[in-house]
C-alpha cells in the first residue's frame, strides 16, 4: 500500500510533466488515488470529501516546482493539510502543583485500552516525579479491579478500590477525597467501557464528572476504529467536554485515519498514542508522523523541506 500510492500517483500524474501548472483536470486521477487512500485509512467519509475539495482548490494553479515530481507536490500539499488538521500539538497534562490534587479521567468504548492507558500514564507520571493514584471505577467488567491492581503493582503506584459498592461515582469521589492522605498528587480514574448510545451509562459518566470535576478528561480511542469514530467521539464530547484524545493500538498496521475524524468532530487535541501492551509503550502524538501513516507514506517532511 505504502509504495502503491506513490506509484499510482506517479503514473497518474506523469502527464503533468512538462506542464507548468497543476489544474483540476490534470490532477484528477491523482486526487482520486489520494481520496481512496484516505478512505482506506478510515478517515471519515465527510471529512475526506471536504478535505479533497479544499485540496483541489489549493493545488490548482500552483506552479509545478522544479525540484519535485508533480505527484510528490500534490501529496505534499495533502500531507501539509493533514498535519494542520491534526494539530496543534499539546502534550501537556495540565497538572497542578504537587500540593494540590490533579484529577485525570479516562473514558471510552469497551476494550479501547482505558485501563492499560491508566497504567501507562501512571508510569509516566512517576518518571516525572509525580505521585499517581489509580482508581478502579470500573465495577462492571469481570476482574477489572484486579486488572488495575496488577498494573498498579507493576508501576509501583497505589490503587484505590472498593469491592463493597456498586456505585462508581462514590468510588471516584472517595478516591479524590482520600488522595492527599494516600500521599498522591495525581488521581487517574479508570471508568468502565460503555457505548456512547447507552444513556444510562453516559449519564453515570456525567455524574462522575460533576461530582469530581476532573481537571482533564481523556477519550481513549482504538486506533483501528472505522467510520463510526465520528459518532462515538462526538457523543463522548457532548456528554463530557473532552480535554484530549489518546489513541491506542497504533503499534500494528492500522492506518489510523480515525485520528482525523476524532479531531475534526471534537476539536480537542490528540495527546498521546499507545504503541504496545507494555506500560512503557506510550508516546506523544505527532501529527506529521500520523499524516505520513494515514497517507501510507514515509516521512514526507524531509521531502518538503528540500522543496
Amino acid at each position: 500500500m505504502f509504495e502503491s500510492l506513490q506509484d499510482g500517483l506517479g503514473s497518474a500524474l506523469k502527464s503533468l510533466r512538462g506542464q507548468g501548472k497543476l489544474s483540476e483536470a490534470n490532477m484528477r486521477d491523482g486526487l482520486k488515488l489520494i481520496e481512496r487512500s484516505l478512505l482506506e485509512a478510515d478517515v471519515s467519509y465527510e471529512v475526506t470529501r471536504t478535505f479533497m475539495s479544499r485540496i483541489t482548490e489549493q493545488a490548482v494553479g500552483e506552479a509545478v516546482l522544479k525540484s519535485l515530481k508533480p505527484s510528490e507536490q500534490v501529496v505534499g500539499i495533502v500531507y501539509k493539510e493533514l498535519v494542520d488538521l491534526m494539530g496543534p500539538v499539546d502534550h501537556s497534562l495540565h497538572l497542578k502543583g504537587k500540593d494540590e490534587v490533579t484529577v485525570l479521567m479516562m473514558c471510552g468504548l469497551q476494550g479501547s485500552g482505558k485501563t492499560t492507558t491508566c497504567g501507562k500514564l501512571g508510569r509516566m507520571l512517576i518518571s516525572r516525579d509525580r505521585k499517581p493514584l489509580l482508581v478502579a471505577a470500573d465495577l462492571q467488567r469481570p476482574a477489572a479491579i484486579d486488572q488495575l491492581h496488577v498494573l498498579g503493582e507493576q508501576i509501583g503506584a497505589p490503587v484505590f478500590s472498593d469491592r463493597t459498592t456498586q456505585d462508581p461515582v462514590a468510588v471516584c469521589n472517595n478516591a479524590v477525597k482520600e488522595a492527599k492522605k494516600l500521599g498522591a498528587d495525581t488521581v487517574i480514574l479508570d471508568t468502565a467501557g460503555r457505548l456512547h448510545i447507552d444513556d444510562e451509562l453516559m449519564g453515570q459518566l456525567g455524574r462522575i464528572d460533576k461530582r469530581c470535576s476532573p481537571d482533564q478528561v481523556y477519550l481513549v480511542v482504538d486506533g483501528m476504529t472505522g467510520q463510526d469514530a465520528v459518532n462515538s467521539a462526538k457523543a463522548f464530547n457532548d456528554a463530557l467536554e473532552l480535554d484530549g484524545v489518546i489513541m491506542t493500538k497504533l503499534d500494528g498496521d492500522t492506518r489510523g485515519g480515525a485520528a482525523i475524524s476524532v479531531k475534526e468532530v471534537t476539536g480537542v487535541p490528540l495527546k498521546y498514542m499507545g504503541v504496545g501492551e507494555h506500560l512503557e509503550n506510550l508516546e506523544e502524538f505527532h501529527p506529521d508522523r500520523m499524516a505520513g501513516r494515514i497517507l501510507g507514506q514515509g516521512d514526507m517532511l524531509s521531502l518538503f523541506e528540500k522543496a
Binding site: 483501528m224 472505522g226 463510526d228 501492551e277
Partner: protein, 314 residues
C-alpha cells in the same frame, strides 16, 4: 427477540443518521438517479465500513441498472440488498461439532476485541443446548485475564483449566483439551491473549497453541474463531488475512454490534477471503450472542434507510 429485532433495536437507539439521509433523497415521487445521487449513496455505503472496493462495486451496479431513471427507495435498496445477500450467503450451521469426543474451539483476535466475553457467551449457548463445557485460560499474559475468565467460569458453572503464571499458553491449551477428554466434556473453548496481527512472534504462538490441541485430538481445534470488533474499520481485512494464515480461522464472531457501528468490514472480508461470520455479539451480558443470519444482517445494514424495514423486505 430474534436476531433482526435485536439488531434493529440496537441501531434504533441513535438518532439514525442513515434514515434521514436517504429519506431526504427520496421525496414521495422517487428520484432521478444521476451523478449527485450516486455520490450520496456512496456516502451512505461508506459509513458502514464495507470498504472502497465493495462500495464501488455496489454503486457501479446501481449506475448500470438505474442511471437516468426515476426510482423509489424500495427498488434501490432491493438492488443493494440482493447483491449483498448474494455475497454474504453461507451455510446454516455455525459450529461443526466433532462426531465423537470433545469439540475443541480456539478463539483469537486483536487486543480488546471481545474474545473472553464472547467465550463466556458461547459457553453459555452450548450449555443451553445441553452440552458440557470446559474453558481453557490461554491468555497468560494480560493483567487479570485469568481472573476474568475464572469469574465467567464461576457464573457459568463450567470447569476451567488455568496455567501457572507465565506458563506457555500452548501448555494450557494442551491441558484443557486433555481434561476435556478425561472428563468426557462436550466442548472445550480455549481463550488466547489479544495480539496485533503484525506481531510475528505472537502470531507464531497461535500456530503452536493450535498444534498443542491437535496433539490431544487429531483434527483439533475443530473451530478457530476470530473475534472482530464491529467498530473496526479497514484494518479488519488485515486481521482476517493474517489470523487466518497463522491460526487457520474457520469463522468470525462479530462483537459489539450493539453500538452504532455496522460492522460492514465483514462484507469486505467475506468478499476477499470467504471467511463466514458465525456469531454476533450484541452486548456485555452472557445472553448477548446470536448466530449470524446473513439476510438479517444485510437488512439491518439498511434498517435505518427504510422506515419499516420488516414490511418493506417481506
Amino acid at each position: 427477540m430474534g436476531f433482526f429485532d435485536r439488531l434493529k433495536q440496537g441501531l434504533k437507539k441513535t438518532g439514525s443518521l442513515l434514515k434521514t439521509d436517504v429519506r431526504d433523497l427520496f421525496k414521495s415521487e422517487g428520484r432521478l438517479i444521476d451523478e449527485a445521487f450516486l455520490e450520496e449513496i456512496r456516502a451512505i455505503l461508506f459509513k458502514t465500513d464495507m470498504g472502497y472496493d465493495a462500495v464501488e462495486a455496489l454503486v457501479g451496479e446501481i449506475a448500470v441498472k438505474m442511471r437516468g431513471r426515476v426510482v423509489h427507495i424500495e427498488e434501490l435498496v432491493d438492488v443493494l440488498k440482493v447483491k449483498l445477500k448474494e455475497l454474504m450467503a453461507q451455510p446454516e450451521s455455525p459450529i461443526e461439532f466433532a462426531p465423537s469426543g470433545p469439540t475443541a474451539v480456539m478463539v483469537c483476535g486483536v487486543n480488546g476485541a471481545g474474545k473472553t466475553t464472547s467465550i463466556a457467551k458461547l459457553a453459555n449457548l452450548f450449555k443451553s443446548q445441553g452440552k458440557s463445557v470446559l474453558l481453557g485460560a490461554g491468555d497468560t499474559f494480560r493483567a487479570a485475564a485469568v481472573e476474568q475468565l475464572t469469574i465467567w467460569s464461576d457464573r457459568l458453572g463450567a470447569p476451567i483449566v488455568t496455567g501457572s503464571p507465565k506458563a506457555h499458553p500452548a501448555s494450557v491449551a494442551y491441558r484443557a483439551v486433555e481434561q476435556a477428554l478425561d472428563q468426557e466434556i462436550d466442548v472445550c473453548v480455549v481463550d488466547t491473549a489479544g495480539r496485533l496481527q503484525t506481531q510475528t512472534d505472537l502470531m507464531a504462538e497461535l500456530t503452536k497453541i493450535r498444534a498443542s490441541m491437535a496433539k490431544q485430538i487429531e483434527g483439533a481445534p475443530h473451530e478457530v474463531l476470530l473475534v472482530l470488533d464491529a467498530t473496526t474499520g479497514q484494518n479488519g481485512v488485515s486481521q482476517a488475512s493474517k489470523f487466518a494464515e497463522a491460526a487457520g480461522c474457520t469463522g468470525i464472531v462479530l462483537a459489539k454490534l450493539d453500538g452504532t457501528a455496522k460492522g460492514g468490514v465483514v462484507v469486505a472480508i467475506r468478499q476477499q477471503f470467504g471467511l463466514p461470520v458465525k456469531y454476533v455479539g450484541l452486548g456485555e451480558g452472557i445472553d448477548d450472542l446470536e448466530p449470524f443470519v446473513p439476510d438479517a444482517f444485510v437488512d439491518a445494514l439498511f434498517a435505518d434507510v427504510l422506515s419499516d424495514p420488516v414490511t418493506a423486505t417481506n
